[in-house]
Amino acid sequence: MALLTIQDLSIGYDAHTVLQDLNFSVHTGDYLCIVGENGSGKSTLMKTLLRLQKPVSGRILTGDGLKETEIGYLPQQTIVQKDFPASVREIVLSGCQGRCGMRPFYNREEKALALQNMERMGIATLKNRCYRELSGGQQQRVLLARALCATRKLLLLDEPVSGLDPKVTAEMYSLISELNRDGITIIMISHDLSAALRYASHILHIGPTVFYGTKEAYLESEPGEIFTRDSYATTEPQRAKHKGGKRK
């Protein structure tokens, strides 16, 4: 049984369907990258998987003892968070809210879990610092530690490296790979195709043609070929221009 099984899923807003008849399954230990152009429905798919919105039709089944609320989520940052007075510890601890249920306060076990995840992300020394004063990379680590408090099995990441500089981006990717090696299943939305091809084990390409399969199969498939060619075609001339500019 797979961790997540998606059956004939159609997604969209207000009865306006963005994407139809998706079928795929995610197994424990997979590293799935969701790629596709802007507006192809990546974020909508993510929100549907998280049950933040209802699917238009079709089903999402969980297996391997995964509860619906045991999904760790790394959302894109919102404007509210930019000036939120909250300490790192408070934010990471809020990842335990699903475990709490109706209990009003966090217990010792949850506090220990929060600390453990802060150590895992290398932010234990920052625990009393204010979130809004941290760098972009540190903030992402805080949110990742929070997501880890919510799950031991499955992480959903929505563009985890957007707005980060190349060095921090690389650190973030290796951190995610490390989590994956520890046995956490990863589903990630990415714009960055080269990183997706480097780290992922499976690719879900959504758009006019949908592809789902392993990375190797993707490179040989039609959408994969077009998409990789296109994204290199758009980046190459820019690089050439840049070089030309430098030479002058």
């Binding site: 609320t69 919102t78 509210v80 300490s87 934010i91 699903g98 919510a150």
Partner: protein, 281 residues
């Protein structure tokens, strides 16, 4: 001066004013942080105008217990306004502005048409600025206010962690299985209760100040949610007590004196925040 104060404190209405003032200041500061961060700073304004509109209707109908009309109407409006933040055709600030201005105009209109009082502008002024009502509280008013305040504080403490989580990241909370809709509803109801309570103290127009000033002041100084919440509660209670005492001694209107003290506290906190920030760097 202390003698004069001691003399005034012998009057029960002065003691009532002080008790109610402190309780309301405490309650209104608690949710201030959440409302400011959620970009709902003006909700106090909007809802208090709704309460004003409801109050005029209750007055015209000559009801003995105006609370019965004011509270439900305000709660319904609060639920509607805070829900509309998401997936709405009319977005948050526009909806607040619409309801606020609409009910203010409606309330004044009703007062004008049906009023039996000879001093209409005086009536409107005292409802809007709460100039006298806090000094005319009865024992029953104080009891109602005390019960509601305790309910607000207990609710806030019990749901503190959830309120933090939902305010910081609603999507994450929903994904983690928290029923965010319920907590939004809870926050709306508590906000409405606080506003109806606070109308007695500072009147419709100055409620926003009571909600946002302590939160903003505390946010200059502290950097964790708990510290900010505690600090804004302490600050709010202190400013309210000081404001009431000053207004008794100097004979100034209660509501605006409290807000003036709150403003002064905000300026002091800003300065202190800048200095502390400078030292830290």
């Amino acid at each position: 001066m202390i003698e004069k104060l001691g003399m005034y404190l012998q009057y029960p209405f002065v003691r009532y004013a002080l008790i109610v003032g402190i309780l309301i200041a405490l309650c209104s500061s608690l949710l201030g942080v959440t409302l400011v961060l959620k970009r709902f700073s003006l909700i106090g304004d909007g809802l208090s105008h709704v309460a004003f509109g409801a109050m005029t209707i209750a007055a015209v109908l000559n009801l003995t217990s105006q609370m019965l009309v004011i509270l439900p109407v305000t709660v319904i409006s609060a639920v509607f306004l805070l829900r509309s933040g998401r997936n709405a055709k009319i977005r948050g600030d526009a909806a607040v502005a619409m309801i606020s201005v609409g009910s203010l105009a409606f309330g004044y209109l009703i007062m004008n048409i049906f009023s039996t009082s000879s001093n209409l502008s005086g009536d409107v002024c005292s409802t809007l600025f709460g100039s006298t009502s806090i000094l005319t509280l009865t024992e029953r008013d104080v009891a109602i206010c005390t019960v509601l305040s305790i309910a607000v504080v207990v609710t806030f403490i019990l749901f503190y962690n959830k309120i933090f989580a939902v305010t910081f990241d609603e999507d994450f909370s929903r994904a983690a299985g928290t029923h965010t809709d319920r907590y939004q509803l809870l926050i709306s109801i508590v906000v409405a209760v606080i506003i109806v309570l606070a109308m007695n103290l500072v009147g419709s127009l100055l409620i926003s100040a009571l909600i946002i000033f302590p939160a903003l002041s505390a946010m200059r100084l502290f950097h964790s949610f708990r510290q900010v919440t505690v600090c804004s509660a302490v600050l709010s209670v202190f400013c309210a007590a000081l404001g009431i005492l000053i207004s008794i001694l100097a004979g100034t209107p209660v509501g605006s004196t409290i807000v003036a003290v709150d403003t002064a506290a905000f300026i002091i906190c800003c300065a202190a925040g800048l200095i502390l920030g400078g030292i830290r760097k």
